[in-house]
């Protein structure tokens, strides 16, 4: 289910790096590559609550598929959300809601992306799925 190709690509990409620093550098580069969001979209409604850094997230549906736009003031956080955007973008809403995101365990950043780390990962996934649910009904 879900965007298997993108998930597998990410797993392969991260597999190239042995040590944490390289993995983080890759995550940081994903963050830097994710286009910034327009300032006028950085409104209260689009904020993901529960992150130490600010995270903004919007979504729209095109031909039955969901497209996300996201940004953060912290670059590692932006890298994390870039991962999710890569995996979810252009997917049907139903697939997004049902994706269990097992790829996160496989990119070797499990400890770093654990829900205890107050990185907001759980909150981001929840908000993305919530958008998908709403767009699915609309």
């Amino acid at each position: 289910m879900g965007n298997r190709n993108v998930e597998e690509e990410l797993i392969e990409d991260f597999d190239l790096f042995d040590d944490w620093a390289d993995k983080y550098e890759y995550l940081i580069s994903l963050g830097k590559d994710l286009p910034s969001m327009n300032e006028e979209k950085k409104i209260e409604d689009n904020i993901v609550k529960g992150c130490q850094s600010q995270v903004w997230l919007t979504a729209e549906a095109k031909d039955g598929n969901v497209f996300f736009e996201a940004d953060s003031d912290a670059i590692i956080t932006k890298g994390i959300i870039a991962l999710l955007v890569k995996v979810f973008n252009g997917q049907p809403a139903g697939d997004i809601v049902n994706n269990n995101l097992s790829f996160i365990d496989q990119i070797g950043l499990k400890d770093h992306l654990s829900p205890n780390r107050s990185n907001g990962l759980v909150a981001m996934i929840k908000k993305m799925k919530a958008y998908a649910l709403v767009l699915n009904k609309a």
Binding site: W20, A21, Y24, I28, S53, D73, A74, I76, N119
Partner: protein
Amino acid sequence: MSTILDIEKIRSQFPTLHKTVNGKPLIYFDNGATSQTPQCVIDRLKTYYEDENSNIHRGVHTLSQEATAAYEDSRRKLQEYLNASREEEVLFTKGTTDAINLVANGFSRSILKSGDEILISSMEHHSNIVPWQMACDYTGAILRVIPINDEGEILFEEYQKLLSTKTKLVAITHVSNTLGTINPIKEMIHAAHQINIPVLIDGAQSIPHMKVDVQELDCEFYAFSGHKMFGPTGIGVLYGKYEWLEQLPPYQGGGDMIKNVSFERTTYNDLPHKFEAGTPNIAGGIGLGAAVDYLNTLDWKNIQIHENLLLDYATEHINNIDGIQIIGQAQRKAGVLSFVHQKAHHYDLGTLLDQLGVAVRTGHHCTEPLMHRFNVTGTTRASFALYNTKEEIDIFIDALKRALKMLL
């Protein structure tokens, strides 16, 4: 600088300091949040559970009497340590937050009226803001805030202007957990006393860095937490002048805080028990006594010299890094170095520093209004304790440079 204290000996007493995290020796610079625990305190907790565990103040049996004696002995140790005039002036609480809530609750129910004022400063921790806001909501009293300058120092003249006959209490931190500022509390207490206003001091961040004498300060209340002064978690102290504690109504009802109970009428117990309803954190109280024993073995004068050298050394090296601005540049500081970087977010810095074995705190440090004052969303905070070293600061500075290189 390490010649004035035998740091190796001090460090050898703290097991956690010898841990590795993420494959690197731990450098623990989050002492402002919680300090590490020396072996003697850990041993004391263990002995309590192995040898003395029982309820206090209630049993006629030997075990209960031994536990009661140990718990009350801790209270006396704290009394002596703080130089309180009576042991009944030392109340055990869950911590600083609980201690401040106790006073705020008592003031709400017995003293505050609509239009009265409570005076706090711009650099207070949420636990010295929110209880007063709740008290104000409940009574119609008004919260007033003493402004600070860009260095992070209280504007004393503004403070004096804010003091009035409407002021019912001044509640102020001794040392700022975010800025490190040591406030001139003695002068502030003196000024408040000129018009008979009582003063509560939040001592959470001062107790681990300096000797405090409550009679010399002459404050009405002094609150602090065990877990920031090398003691256990879940235990803390409210020191209160006897006549003030007498005057305030009890905070919580239950066992231990009563003399007699009938459905018609209950009479309350004497101090300190009036404020200690229910079975307390007995192990924690006894462990806190062991922490006081530990503090009593220390050479405070040299510890302060050592800590000041650490802070100066770290400040100098941080200042040499491009793009960094220190938040909190008061003349008198203790233990805390907070900073922001022009481009790197504190969350990113904290995450990468952790990977490099350095534990710091990032975010608003429970001082959101202070963040607004300095127009930042958060800072990275390194906070030091007596067992930290210059070598650790060197590693921290290198780690910080490496993190910045990865991020920028």
